[in-house]
C-alpha cells in the first residue's frame, strides 16, 4: 500500500517541523520554500492572512471582497515566489500585491460612500491648514460622540480619497516606513510624504468635531 503522505516531512515530526518554521523570519521562510520545504508557504499564509485582510478591508471598505482579494494575493505569491528577488523585503512585496489588487478593485467599481463630510471634499489636495475652532452648531453631543466615535473614525478614513487613504493606513495602522510605502504604492518618496501630510490634515479636519 502506498502512503504518499508518509514520505513528505523532512523533519521526523511534523509538529516540530512546523514550530521550526515559526522561528524563521520571512526571508528564511521564502528560502525554505524555494528549497523544497512546502510547508513554509503555509507559515507565510498564517503570518499575513489577517493583517492583509484588515489592510485590504480598510482600503476598500468591503469585507466580502477583501477576503477574495487576500486569496488572490496569496495565489499570486504562490505563482511567482520562485521569481521573487530575495534581496527585497517579503512584507513589502506582498503588501504591494495586495495594494494593487485593492486599487484595481476601487477602480472597477463606482464607490457610493455615505457622504458625511461634503464640505471638505473639494480641498483634498490643498496644503495643510489649521482646524477651525469649534462650531457648536454642528458639534455632536457627548453621548453621540462616545457612542459613535469608532464608527465615525472608520467612516472618516473611508471618506479619504484612495491615494490618501492607502498611505494613511500603511503608516498609521501598518507602521510602514516612508520608503516601504513608496515601494508599495509605486509613488516616489516626496509624493508619499506630501500625501501623508495631506491625509493627516484631512483626517484631522473631519475628525476634530468628534474629538474635543
Amino acid at each position: 500500500m502506498m502512503d504518499v503522505f508518509a514520505r513528505a516531512p523532512k523533519a521526523a515530526d511534523p509538529a516540530s517541523a512546523r514550530s521550526a518554521l515559526k522561528q524563521l523570519d520571512d526571508s528564511g521562510l521564502v528560502a525554505a520554500y524555494l528549497d523544497g520545504e512546502k510547508r513554509a508557504f503555509g507559515e507565510l499564509v498564517e503570518r499575513y492572512q489577517t493583517r492583509l485582510l484588515n489592510f485590504v478591508y480598510r482600503t476598500t471598505g468591503d469585507r466580502e471582497r477583501a477576503e477574495d482579494l487576500v486569496q488572490e494575493t496569496f495565489i499570486r505569491v504562490y505563482r511567482h515566489l520562485h521569481r521573487f528577488d530575495q534581496s527585497k523585503k517579503f512584507s513589502t512585496w506582498i503588501y504591494t500585491i495586495a495594494s494593487n489588487l485593492a486599487k484595481n478593485e476601487l477602480r472597477n467599481r463606482s464607490r457610493n460612500p455615505l457622504v458625511l463630510f461634503q464640505t471638505i471634499k473639494k480641498n483634498w489636495d490643498a496644503d495643510a491648514r489649521p482646524l477651525e475652532w469649534e462650531d457648536n452648531t454642528y458639534r455632536p453631543d457627548d453621548l453621540f460622540r462616545k457612542r459613535h466615535l469608532k464608527s465615525m473614525v472608520e467612516n472618516t478614513v473611508d471618506q479619504l480619497p484612495e491615494h490618501h487613504r492607502t498611505v494613511f493606513i500603511l503608516r498609521e495602522m501598518e507602521g510602514k516606513t516612508y520608503e516601504e510605502i513608496a515601494d508599495i504604492t509605486g509613488a516616489n518618496l516626496g509624493t508619499v510624504k506630501s500625501r501623508l501630510n495631506r491625509a493627516r490634515n484631512n483626517f484631522a479636519q473631519l475628525i476634530a468635531p468628534l474629538l474635543d
Binding site: K38, K193, L211
Partner: protein, 188 residues
C-alpha cells in the same frame, strides 16, 4: 509662511520623528506656544489611536479551505502543462483529480458534481468526507488512508505539496486531501 503654516507643513515628518533635531525643537516650541497647533496634534494623535484600536476583522472559517482549493487548482494546471509538454497523448488522460473536502466544503463537492473528476474516484471518496469531518487526529494520517483507497482503485497518486498547509490541531478540520493521477488508469 507663518509659524503655524510651517508647523502644519512639517507636521507629518514631526509626527513620524523624521525631522532633523533643530527643526524638531522648533516644532516642539511652537506646539508649546500655540493652542491651535497643539489641538491639531491632539486631534490627529487621538484619532489615529481610535483608528488603530478598531476591531480587527477575522477570516471566515472556510478561508483556508478555499485557498487550499485554489492552490490545488494552480498545481493541477501546472501539472497539466508539464504533462502536455511531456507527451501529447498524456493530455487526454491527465488532470484526473481525486480529492476529499472535509467538513462540508461545498465548492469542492460542486467541483465533482460538475463532472470534472472521474466518477469512480469521486464515488469512492465521498464517504470519506464524513469520516474526515469527524476526524480530529493528524490530518495526514487520514489522508494517507484515503490515498490508499485510491491506490487500490488503481489511481496512480502523486503527492501534492500542501496537504498540511492549514491543518490546525485544535481548530476545525480544514485539511484538504488532494491527489491527481499521472497515468491513464481511470480512463480505462
Amino acid at each position: 509662511m507663518t509659524s503655524c503654516e510651517r508647523f502644519l507643513a512639517g507636521y507629518s515628518a514631526f509626527r513620524d520623528d523624521a525631522l532633523p533635531w533643530e527643526e524638531r525643537v522648533e516644532m516642539e516650541v511652537h506646539l508649546d506656544e500655540c493652542p491651535s497647533c497643539a489641538r491639531y496634534d491632539r486631534v490627529v494623535s487621538r484619532g489615529a489611536d481610535v483608528f488603530r484600536e478598531l476591531p480587527q476583522l477575522e477570516l471566515s472559517e472556510d478561508f483556508a479551505a478555499r485557498l487550499q482549493h485554489r492552490i490545488y487548482t494552480e498545481d493541477l494546471e501546472a501539472a497539466r502543462a508539464r504533462n502536455a509538454s511531456r507527451s501529447a497523448t498524456a493530455l487526454a488522460t491527465m488532470g484526473v483529480a481525486a480529492a476529499i473536502a472535509a467538513a462540508a466544503w461545498v465548492p469542492l463537492v460542486r467541483y465533482y458534481a460538475d463532472g470534472e473528476a472521474p466518477r469512480q474516484a469521486a464515488a469512492s471518496t465521498v464517504p470519506f468526507a464524513a469520516r474526515l469531518a469527524a476526524w480530529d487526529g493528524p490530518a495526514h494520517r487520514e489522508a494517507g488512508r484515503v490515498t490508499s483507497q485510491l491506490v487500490r482503485l488503481g489511481v496512480a497518486v502523486t503527492e501534492l505539496p500542501y496537504h498540511d498547509l492549514v491543518f490546525k490541531k485544535d481548530g476545525p478540520l480544514v485539511a484538504t486531501v488532494a491527489a491527481y493521477t499521472e497515468g491513464d488508469v481511470l480512463a480505462r
